[in-house]
Every structure is written in C-alpha cells, then in structure tokens.
Symmetry: C3
Subunit: 134 residues, 3 copies
C-alpha cells in the first residue's frame, strides 16, 4: 500500500507530519517514508519542547553554513544561491528515508518521538513523501 | 514478527547487540531495528578492533560538544544538563533505524560489521529497540 | 528476492549505481540496499550536476580529515593508514542502507535523485551491496 503525502514548507526548519501519518498506519508491519528530494530530509526527533527543533536547525546551519561564508568558498555548485549546495550536504548527513514498525495499527514510536520533514532551502517548497506500508 | 529488545547503557559509547539478534533472524527477509529514543542511536560499525568504538565516541564528542562548551552557547534546550541537546543532535546525525537483509537464517552482515546501540547521554538508561522481521 | 551487486571503486568519491538497479526493480514493493562494509556508504543525491558529487566529497574530507591532520591526533585506530579511521567515521555519518519504494516496476525516485556508493578509502576496493526486494 503506497501513498504520496505533500508537505508545504516555508523556509528552513522542521515540519511535523506525525499526525498525518497516524491514521494511515494499519495492522502490523513496517511503514517506510521516502522523501523524493536531495535538499530536504526526514528525521525523527523530540516533539515535546519546540526548542529542540530550533536548536537542531541552528546546529546544522553552523555545521554546514551558506556558501557566502568564507569557510565554504571551495564549493562549486552554487547556481541556485548560497543555500543550494549546503542543502545537498545536509541531505547527505540526514535521512532520505525512515522505517517505523507498526504494531496493532499504531506507529511504534517512543513517547517523545515525532516524525518531521527537515527543510534545508530558504524558499518555500512543496515536498513529496512516499509512504509505503508493507 | 516483532519483538522489543531492552538494552541497558551506562554512559556514552557503543553497546554491541549483534549476538542478541542473531538467533532471532530466521528464513530470508529483512530485519528492521528501530530505537524508540531521541538521545541514542543505532549504528553498524567495525567489531574487530574496540579502538574504533572509542574513536567514534571521541569524534562525536568533539563534533557535538556539551553545552558547557562556549561554541554551543546558542543552544536553548538545556533543562536536563549539558549532554541533553547534544544527545538530540547526535541522534539526528546517526540512525534511528537500521535495515539488515536476512539470508537463509543469517544476518547478511559483512565480515567486520557489528550492530550497536550508540548511547549519547551521560547517565544510565534502559533503551528499547523494536525488531521487526518481514 | 535478493541479489548481491559488486561495485569496483577507485578512490574516494561517489559511484552511481542507479542504472544497475533499475531493471531489477519489479512490481510494487520496497527495495532495500545494504552495503557490507564499514568504510563505504550508500547515499541518494542529485545526479544532474556532477559538481554536487565533488562538493560532497570535499565537504566530508574537511569534516573528517585524515589522521595526518593535527586536529585528528586523538584517533588511535590508524593501522591501515591516515584514511582508515576517518573512513569509519564517515561510514557512521552516512547511510549503511537505503530503502526505496518501487511503484509499478519503477524506483520511486524524485526527478534528480540518483543512488550512489560513497567510497571513503584511498585504495581501490570491490564493494558488495546486498539488494532485497520485498
């Protein structure tokens, strides 16, 4: 069983999609999520304190600064702006797919785990996430 | 077929779980492991020389230092101590789940590959790993 | 259905394997790829501009420099040369496995997504990738 979820983003950061996925998980099996992009990621992170999401975004903005930062001057793929190649690097460092066991119709997430699209580009994007239940 | 494995940790580092999983893998299929936490990870790494595990831990301790380090002063989620938010960041950088093919009742691991829980918190924790064989 | 693909590498960098995998994907399901090594990775990245691959390799070479770099002098697993332990660290930071949904006999990749073996060692290696279609 497969379905594509569209997620509208509006700048860098984490966008929670857990609630969209919950009703879709049925029976017992494995839910796989796959994002069809190389400048956005899927992550599982704490959903209790929103500061965690801000801190994560700020950490990755420092680990992979925009190409306007002198430390990144060696990068060559800069056609689409200073957030272009750093977005690809973040997409290598963070997951393109997630697998989550489904138990008796429930996602087997831990108490504090939420599922997020992590957007790495500055401009708004419509992101496609393929969900596969097997 | 699903089962939850409990793994007791005692401070940061890698805890091998390969041998616990071996007898559980049957037939041919895919074993998925999912850790129900946002401050610990699952990794596949070399199991021959224990120095690899120490080096890995030391690398990540430098890549994501505790919030007592001046370079991390921008982090705000610090309620549970200086290892709190760095643990979440490491959990974003490292896998929350693993998938390992099973062939004729054997995990299809390479010669030197072992499966580990990577603990990121200072205090002891009981970690839950969901195993799904499909 | 399982098969092992061999991929010959010749130094650090990305080696595309998308076209080798395409004919193997049939029906609808989930393709899992698993690399049986702890010093090479599997990544999904942009396949339009080859500069992206060069930039990725250069970024990771800076994030995890060889042990000849003074900043890495704390590493102890150095038996096989200055690229040995950094390769293990990169293999922790980047995926050991990928899952890609298959829809009507086609890999459900985004327009610009390609599948790559990311080699972290300096010398040539024959890498084994287990493919599982389920």
């Amino acid at each position: 069983m497969q379905q594509i979820f569209d997620v509208q983003t509006n700048g860098p950061g984490l966008y929670e999609i857990t609630d969209q996925l919950r009703p879709w998980a049925r029976g017992s099996g494995l839910l796989t999520l796959f994002i069809q992009h190389t400048s956005a990621s899927l992550v599982i992170q704490e959903n209790a304190d929103p500061d965690v999401q801000t801190d994560l975004q700020n950490y990755f903005a420092r680990l992979v600064p925009p190409t306007t930062d002198p430390s990144m001057s060696y990068l060559t793929h800069v056609y689409e702006g200073p957030d272009d190649m750093p977005a690809h690097i973040k997409a290598a460092l963070l997951p393109t797919h997630l697998c989550i066991p489904v138990t008796d119709g429930r996602l087997a997430l831990g108490t504090w785990q939420g599922i997020y699209v992590f957007e790495h580009r500055d401009r708004p994007h419509l992101r496609h996430v393929v969900a596969h239940l097997g």
